[in-house]
């Protein structure tokens, strides 16, 4: 059990920032991103605990996180939360976190709004490839498509992005 925990701790330290970013760019809410990231790692832990063979930790974490995000958007009441955060309303965070959020919101307002103009499918592949630095095989695993299809879609996504960025 201790070995499993140590392994899980290593995985957490290695990928928590990436998973948080991946989630944040899709829910645009730091608190929700924190909740989903935590849930992602908890589900990952359950797989370790059950003794499941894990071939690629990173890909699996993205698959889990994506599933939770999809569930999040399926809930109608949560859809209303998808908006840029009102920092001033957040009184529960420390100054450090508020600065972090302001910084994040600036990033969102500049780049993410441009990305939002392209097809969701293309945006997903672009972010996984150029922000998360996933390999084609990993993207295929996360999106549940064939690697060849991912290459084709990425090619089209890049073509669409010309003139937008």
């Amino acid at each position: 059990m201790q070995d499993k925990k140590a392994y899980f701790g290593e995985v957490y330290e290695t990928y928590v920032k990436q998973i948080f970013r991946f989630v944040f760019l899709r829910v645009n809410n730091t608190q929700k991103a924190e909740d989903i990231t935590s849930e992602t790692f908890l589900r990952f832990w359950r797989k370790i605990e059950q003794g499941n063979y894990i071939d690629n930790e990173r890909a699996l974490l993205y698959v889990i996180a994506r599933g939770i995000i999809i569930d999040y958007y399926r809930s109608k009441k949560n859809i209303r939360e998808v908006k840029l955060e009102e920092v001033a309303d957040d009184k529960q965070f420390t100054n450090d976190e508020i600065i972090e959020k302001i910084y994040l919101n600036e990033k969102i307002s500049k780049i993410y709004k441009r990305l939002a103009t392209i097809k969701k499918e293309y945006r997903e592949i672009i972010l996984l490839r150029f922000v998360e630095d996933l390999e084609y095989a990993e993207i295929a695993s996360v999106l549940g498509k064939k690697e060849v299809a991912i290459r084709v879609l990425l090619h089209r996504a890049i073509a669409t992005l010309k003139g937008i960025l």
Binding site: R21, F24, A33, F41
Partner: protein
């Protein structure tokens, strides 16, 4: 625009990272959940739900309820027995079957009589009176085809023997209260038996 250009344009998004405080807080929360789950596995749901019953006052209450429950069930069985007996008799459609059922019940009660308990004698006598009432109503003409003369004779023979045993038992135990009644029943049985033997 090639892949490198896009990567460069989007590179600023890679700066999005949670604060160290947030990372620490999330980790603590996850490990708390993991450790909490282990405790939960050791103690199943039912244990957690009913753990309060292990307190002495609840334990006493539970024991009391069990005692009351057992007592109620035994009392209910005693009370319900005559009801079942009456219902069984009511369900059969001729006097022979009614008399037979009442007689069987009287025999059972006599076999399990408790000599030290006066109420058990009273109970046997009540059932015997019921048996006597039904057996007296046996009439071959009114209920023709439902039972035979031979069946009536056999039943009366057994009944006469039963009355004799009961009388003997009561005399041994010096229970003279019911003597006159039993002698009367024996006379009736003797007379009827003589009729069925002809």
């Amino acid at each position: 625009m090639n892949e490198k250009d896009i990567a460069k344009k989007l590179s600023s998004l890679k700066d999005i990272t949670p604060s160290s405080q947030r990372i620490k807080r999330m980790k603590e929360g996850i490990f708390r959940e993991i450790d909490g789950k282990k405790v939960h596995e050791k103690n199943p749901v039912w244990y957690a739900r009913y753990q309060f019953l292990m307190r002495p006052q609840y334990l006493l209450l539970v024991l009391l309820l069990i005692v009351v429950g057992v007592f109620s069930i035994s009392t209910m069985q005693k009370n319900i027995q005559p009801v079942i007996f009456s219902a069984r008799i009511a369900l059969v459609n001729n006097h022979y079957e009614k008399a037979k059922l009442a007689f069987e019940e009287a025999q059972t009660q006599l076999n399990s009589i408790n000599d030290s308990d006066l109420s058990s004698y009273q109970q046997v006598m009540e059932t015997t009176t019921t048996t006597n009432a039904y057996i007296s109503h046996l009439q071959l003409q009114g209920e023709k085809g439902k039972y035979t003369k031979e069946q009536c004779k056999n039943l009366y023979q057994k009944y006469a023997l039963y009355l004799s045993t009961l009388n003997h038992h009561l005399q041994e135990e010096k229970q003279f209260t019911y003597e006159a009644t039993i002698v009367n029943y024996q006379k009736q049985a003797k007379s009827r038996l003589a009729f069925y033997k002809t």
